[in-house]
């Protein structure tokens, strides 16, 4: 299909101080209905959106982090996390939720969705996109 475009959603903000993270996730899920080639990228404080064990009880906001686990169902399996952003915050991929997708062509084998990449690699990935949306 020639009308499939490459969409990249950049997530650069902490999950609960503003509405950006949730809005981004909603746009991603809505956009997934249009069968585009979707990638997500998490940089800066945006990496906190993918943290394990989020608990929002004290701030009185819905904890929407379980929704990231549904991305695989929506065929969204290219989730890039910037290595430098993790390093700067003392985090590793083990601090993040384990997001997977199931490959229908390989008898529903579970595969990791999250890829940790350097900012140089991210720049290359960004360069290949048709549409970049920043949240």
């Amino acid at each position: 299909m020639s009308n499939v475009k490459k969409f990249m959603y950049i997530n650069n903000k902490a999950p609960y101080g503003t509405i950006y993270a949730w809005e981004s996730l909603e746009v991603v899920l809505i956009g997934a209905a249009f069968d585009q080639d979707v990638s997500l990228m998490f940089t800066g404080d945006g990496v906190y959106q993918l943290m394990k064990g989020q608990d929002t009880k004290e701030v009185g906001i819905k904890n929407f982090s379980p929704t990231y686990a549904a991305l695989g169902d929506y065929d969204i399996n290219k989730i890039y996390v910037e290595k430098e952003s993790l390093d700067a915050r003392g985090l590793t991929v083990d601090d993040l939720m384990h997001l997977v997708w199931e490959d229908e062509d390989e008898d529903w084998a579970e595969k990791d969705s999250i890829k940790v990449v350097t900012s140089a690699e991210l720049a290359e990935i960004l360069d290949q996109q048709d549409v970049v949306l920043s949240f």
Binding site: E26, L29, I30, G31, A32, A33, K62, N63, F64, P66, T67, A69, A70, D73, Y74, W108
Partner: protein, 111 residues
């Protein structure tokens, strides 16, 4: 604000009939909502409704129809994981109608 009266309690719904507070949901509400749309809920309907509630519990969203269809197929078998089967049960759209009966918000990305 519109409301559904059931067993002496009042349940607020939005202008399209979706329950405002999903924690209030009781199975009896689904039967009332269905009756309002001239539908009678069978075990086959309940299978989908219960599946949607479990999906919401786990992921905090109501799945898009495409995702629902695939997931139902995986869980309940290929003969149920197709749009023909689901539309026969929920002619107004499996996402929209079944989510309403399940007390969930309208699915994200539902047009």
């Amino acid at each position: 604000m519109a409301a559904i009266e059931f067993e002496g309690k009042s349940y607020e719904v939005d202008e399209e009939g979706y329950l405002l507070d999903l924690n209030q949901w009781v199975p009896g509400l689904a039967d009332i909502m269905a009756k309002d749309e001239d539908a009678v809920l069978t075990d086959a309907h309940w299978e989908v409704i219960n599946f949607l509630r479990e999906y919401y519990e786990e992921y905090q969203i109501a799945p898009a129809v495409r995702v629902l269809t695939k997931a139902i197929g995986k869980k309940l078998g290929k003969d149920k994981g197709n749009s023909k089967y689901l539309y026969e049960l929920f002619p107004y759209g499996p996402g929209k109608q079944a989510c309403k009966y399940a007390g969930l918000p309208k699915p994200t990305g539902c047009v």
